[in-house]
Symmetry: C2
Subunit: 157 residues, 2 copies
């Protein structure tokens, strides 16, 4: 249902949420999210344009979140890559429909609304700090290194 870009954006944001206080280098982001570097670069640009992350080039550069993971909801991430809008006008451009959607587009809009409601109610920290053995993007080794700090879940040395 979601585009590859959306999936990748969510992965990148989840990974950055593990290290809120430091810049994560893009090669590490690409490796851990399993996203092709060139594709990831475009996704990161979109997230940066939306003000969700900030980057620095050069040695020691990388990306970090601009806000606490608890203050970023999934809907903001999904919207930043252009997915998941409500339907406000007849997609066929029928003059007699306009903003009064027909039953087909009402139903499609209702589907979008259901997903938007779910994603608005879920923060990035809900994902990375949820109890349970499976942490987003983490294999066994990485999970063992996870520690819960006051500011969120971070990956220890």
């Amino acid at each position: 249902m979601f585009s590859r870009t959306t999936e990748y954006a969510l992965r990148a944001m989840a990974l950055l949420a593990y290290a809120p206080d430091q810049l994560t280098p893009t090669p590490e982001l690409a490796e851990r999210t399993k996203v092709p570097p060139n594709y990831l670069a475009k996704v990161l640009q979109q997230l940066a344009s939306a003000g969700l992350i900030v980057g620095r080039r050069g040695v020691g550069g990388g990306y970090r979140l601009t806000r606490r993971a608890a203050d970023i909801n999934l809907m903001e991430i999904v919207r930043s890559v252009g997915e998941l809008d409500r339907i406000k006008q007849c997609p066929l451009g029928l003059a007699n429909h306009g903003p009064n959607l027909c039953p087909l587009h009402k139903k499609m809009d209702e589907a979008a609304a259901r997903v938007i409601d779910l994603f608005k109610d879920t923060s990035l920290s809900d994902l990375v700090s949820a109890p349970g053995a499976n942490k987003p993007l983490c294999d066994d080794v990485t999970t063992a290194r996870l520690s819960i700090s006051g500011r969120g879940t971070t990956i220890g040395p």
Copy 2:
């Protein structure tokens, strides 16, 4: 949220539901659904492969539904063009996740489940026979020609 292919498949099926007893010529389908003919041809092939429609080539040819519109739900249509599956395995292929999804993919799966529930409960006839002024794909002129028959809503002469 939905791909263009999904939108076009739903439009084509809605149009065919207005004329359940006759073949609708593909040029008419393309014009009324406002879908580029080549693109529509591919969508129609997918719908036919899924057994939702049947076609005949040549003079007097076209497409029609294989079942009553009341017996086709939106989920069948969306699935026929390859969209909207539940997430059954870790998309990153992490061995320690496998079918036990992490909170990120659980949430994305929950979103898919919400939409699937909605679309499973909606039949094609729910869309074209719903009361109200706005009929899917119909401008003012076409709406005025609509008549409700025992087998569904059809477009009269």
